[in-house]
């Protein structure tokens, strides 16, 4: 049955027999897609008197927004911070990520010498995903403005501190902030408040991590506009009952009103104990973002997080889609299945294994 062409000539696809994640719940609803975006079928019916050109039977699977990975250092033999064949490396990783339900991601660079940033950043352009692979939302710069004690595996000789306490420090090291979405820094470094302010003004998300900040330094950073915690619990001071440090942000009452602090947790069963995942999630469920671990893929971490925290399927899925989108300020068109959003989604079975991945309404991977 052809669609009425009053608004658009493009074909309309109706995904039927599925349970879609909508309004925080799995609902038995069809999903309609046209021109890569999710379509409002009621408007289509009454305004355009249109209907679907094709129907896709989802065989009762779960249809969830595509996963968004905000911190991935590489994979499949590729290390984004190496600097060789940057475009090839990003292309390979973005293609393989589709198998794990990731439709958008932030390639992450660990602490590196300036020449690496100058070489790599211009080659990691922001671009939409498609059949070739997941979309690049922007680069996540994890370092070098981090704490010596909490550098983890980051190379010590490349660590830096703020000399002027302004963007100049960053531009000297990074070269440009053009393709950058997120910067992780340690807020206890002198000069960080103004740096944070300037980054936020530019639209870059500021994340706290690899840091020995105490709670009040962390709260100050959030008051300046920081909104994320990089791999909670790892590379920061442990929770202490008299000074919870960065972990205390989850329940701090010193945060600006209407401000949500998001936090990434590596839910691979190795970087964090399941009990720790549970404590964090129960303390602040709307901020949870799932991160993948060194060898654990995003979908594995979604499954592990669900099992370990005992949360609902909906909460586990939102931690990997809606919350990262909210963190990056892109939830108007990513991370949800709301009308008008980009049609990036995954089909999952009941145990949350990825069966098919779609970007812009087109199937880009099938098991």
């Amino acid at each position: 049955m052809p669609s009425n062409k009053s608004v658009s000539e493009e074909p309309i696809t109706q995904f039927v027999n599925c349970r879609i994640l909508k309004d925080h719940q799995l609902q038995r609803e069809d999903l309609w897609v046209r021109e890569g975006k999710i379509l409002n079928p009621e408007k289509l019916f009454f305004d355009e008197e249109g209907y679907a050109d094709h129907q896709v039977d989802c065989e009762s699977k779960i249809l969830a927004p595509g996963f968004i990975d905000v911190q991935i250092n590489g994979g499949y033999g590729v290390d984004f911070s190496q600097g060789c064949d940057v475009r090839g490396g990003v292309a390979l990783v973005s293609k393989r990520l589709l198998e794990h339900g990731v439709t958008s991601f932030c390639p992450t660079l660990v602490t590196s010498p300036p020449h690496i940033y100058h070489k790599v950043l211009p080659e990691m352009e922001v671009h939409d995903g498609g059949a070739e692979g997941a979309g690049v939302l922007g680069v996540h710069l994890e370092g070098p403005f981090i704490s010596r004690e909490k550098r983890g595996a980051h190379p010590e000789h490349c660590l830096r501190s703020f000399q002027q306490g302004s963007l100049t420090d960053l531009l000297e090291v990074y070269g440009s902030l053009d393709n950058v979405s997120i910067v992780t820094l340690a807020p206890e470094l002198p000069g960080s408040p103004t740096v944070i302010q300037e980054l936020v003004k530019m639209g870059v998300t500021v994340s706290l991590g690899h840091s020995v900040a105490d709670l009040s330094q962390a709260e100050q950073a959030v008051q300046q506009g920081a909104t994320f915690i990089t791999h909670l619990f790892n590379a920061m001071l442990p929770f202490h009952h008299r000074d919870p440090g960065i972990v205390g942000l989850l329940t701090s009452d010193q945060l600006p009103p209407n401000c949500t602090v998001f936090y990434g947790m590596i839910a691979d069963g190795i970087h964090t104990n399941p009990a720790a995942l549970r404590i964090a999630h129960r303390a602040h469920p709307s901020g949870t973002n799932t991160l993948c671990g060194s060898i654990a893929t995003m979908d594995m971490c979604v499954r592990h997080f669900r099992k370990a925290s005992g949360c609902s399927v909906e909460a586990a899925l939102e931690a990997a889609s809606l919350h990262p989108a909210q963190l990056l300020g892109i939830s108007q068109h990513k991370g949800t299945l709301d009308y008008g959003s980009d049609a990036d989604f995954v089909l999952l079975d009941d145990s949350l294994h990825v069966k098919a991945t779609y970007i812009g309404g087109e199937e880009v991977w099938r098991k």
Partner: protein, 277 residues
Amino acid sequence: MKLVILEDYVQSSEWAAKYIRNRIVQFNPSADRYFTLGLPTGGTPLGCYKKLIEYYESGDLSFKYVKTFNMDEYVGLPRDHPESYHSYMWNNFFKHIDIEPANAHILDGNAADLQAECEAFEQEIAAAGGIGLFIGGIGPDGHIAFNEPGSSLVSRTRVKTLAKDTILANARFFGNDLTKVPTMALTVGVGTVMDAREVMVLITGAHKAFALYKAIEEGVNHMWTVSAFQQHPRTIFVCDEDATLELRIKTVKYFKGLMHVHNRLVDPLCSMKVQRS
């Protein structure tokens, strides 16, 4: 009239749905000959719509060659407001079946010229060959569609101001906030429904019992507009036991005694599957 009394809401909804199914299937609609249905909204027909959707899903009934005309729509409520009758029909019926969008007609309560919209609706009904089966409900004040007490029994589609009773009854759909309930609506007239070749009125629940009594056991009266159907050649009232609570025992016994006759209208149950093979 036929007064069909079933035990409860579920059974009366099912009987009504079976009847509608049989009428459509037996009519055997096609691209040259559509079946035209008049449709209601509100709480009462929900069970009936659910059964009709089941019949579509099982392949026994198709709405491909059915044209529908809804009875009414609020004035001034945005079309995509969750309580608009457009939203009601989409969510409870249209999105689950195979009706073609161009064949689903609902009055536009946001039209620039409401009077013209009403006149156009009457013309669309005429162009479709008139309504074959008009399904309606009854308000606690005995109204059909939004033909409030005092509406002319020969009225046509027009703008009506809603009675207090109706606004109160509708408040539950607007968070019980009377200020949010629309005060005007576009509605088919009593005369419009009387023009249908057949009328089926669904009446369930004790709160509708008095209205049913007034509609069928007292005279034709514009204060209880459903009473107009006493003068229609083919009307069926489908109700549950609770809705008969204000009727004379004699009336109820008589019609219950006719159930074996009435049931021949729904048994055997026809299916489009049989027709195709």
